[in-house]
């Protein structure tokens, strides 16, 4: 039963993918992402991407097992799900990757974005990383993922709609305005350099949520200049380094989420590329669960003020005491 089913109430596609039930969950005997075990036969590797063995979306999908109609719409789950291995070293957290390697990862993400955006059946390319067992990872090896979707997902659609309306009414970019407001206020800014600004947004939903915006306006990674790619790598390392040092725990759980314009051929020049980071760790020994209010109403309750979260992150060093992995 791999297929997309339309929710006529919330007007969004859901992915039904029973193949993912077969995924290994935190195997203890060996890691399938380590070199020479399962996915990568070589004894060592630098950065590798591959199509997921248990994909939610497939290049050549099977026919859906049931017929839809104009109300209960059904589509084949055509798309691409890739895994990005950041390092062959199972033990190194992404925060400890060298700046050179992080910059190479930016090149790899951009390359995959470019190539997948050229597929005629793809409308949106989503790059993300789940880290930590509290987030729900099924494998601990340092890796991210990439979903190339045949539709624009709901949050992206809403964000794009807001950006389009702001552009039409104000003749300016919604996200550039947020950058200006956060720079003026300053108390929520966690880090910045000449190209990027990292801040806890005024409207943060989740613990230690950080947004990383390029100061220059462009809609996707494809417009990154060399110096901006380096700055983006430095910004990611800084946020992840602060996350890792924030509490004395082994593996700070977080999600890294890339937000880019769709690739469906329409004009999205008003959109502003950025990254968002979220955690569930609201204190050293406390997890924020997505419970009744969040799940049932999509209204988020934060027990930490954005200003307090920004202050905590500002006071936390980004440097990692364990040193960095050789970038190769």
């Amino acid at each position: 039963m791999p297929e997309l089913r339309w929710n006529p109430v919330l007007k969004r596609w859901n992915i039904i993918s029973d193949k993912r039930q077969d995924r290994p969950v935190l195997p203890e005997d060996s890691c399938p992402l380590c070199p020479g075990v399962l996915e990568v036969p070589e004894d060592d590797y630098y950065i590798v991407t591959f199509e997921n063995r248990f994909p939610a979306l497939e290049r050549q999908p099977e026919e859906p097992n049931l017929d839809g109609d104009s109300f209960y719409r059904v589509r084949e789950n055509r798309g691409v799900c890739e895994v990005v291995l950041y390092s062959s070293d199972h033990e190194v957290p992404p925060a400890d990757l060298s700046l050179d390697r992080m910059e190479d990862l930016v090149s790899v993400w951009t390359d995959r974005f470019r190539e997948l955006s050229e597929e005629e059946f793809i409308d949106y390319v989503y790059i993300f990383e789940n880290r930590g067992r509290e987030i729900g990872v099924t494998l601990d090896h340092p890796h991210g993922q990439l979903y190339a979707l045949p539709f624009v997902p709901p949050l992206a659609r809403k964000s794009i709609q807001s950006a389009r309306e702001h552009s039409r009414k104000q003749d300016s970019c919604l996200f550039c305005r947020i950058i200006d407001r956060e720079k003026d206020f300053a108390d929520r800014v966690v880090w910045e350099n000449e190209d990027f600004l990292a801040f806890v947004p005024f409207y943060a939903r989740l613990p230690y949520e950080v947004h990383l915006y390029p100061k220059r306006h462009f809609p996707t990674m494809l417009s990154l200049k060399d110096n901006e790619a380096r700055s983006l790598a430095r910004g990611i390392k800084t946020v992840l380094g602060k996350y890792s040092n924030l509490f004395p725990i082994d593996d700070f759980p977080y999600i890294t989420s890339f937000h880019q314009a769709p690739v469906d051929g329409k004009d999205y020049s008003y959109y502003h590329f950025h990254l968002e980071f979220y955690s569930l760790q609201r204190a050293e020994d406390k997890i924020k669960y997505r419970a009744g209010v969040e799940t049932g109403t999509s209204t988020f309750i934060s027990s930490l003020s954005p200003e307090k979260m920004a202050q905590d992150l500002k006071e936390t060093e980004a440097e990692r005491s364990d040193g960095e992995v050789n970038g190769g």
């Binding site: 990568v40 630098y46 991407t49 591959f50 190479d104 090149s107």
Partner: protein, 38 residues
């Protein structure tokens, strides 16, 4: 047996596309060595 289908370059990286035995695409990205032209 995995099969190399294309070798190109991306920024400072050598990019090797491989078709896995089961047909899935895999890509190795490696730092280019001095003088290596992808």
């Amino acid at each position: 047996m995995n099969r190399t289908v294309e070798v190109t370059k991306v920024d400072g990286l050598k990019k090797e596309k491989v078709e896995k035995e089961d047909g899935r695409l895999m890509i190795y990205y490696r730092p280019r060595e001095d003088g290596e032209d992808g």
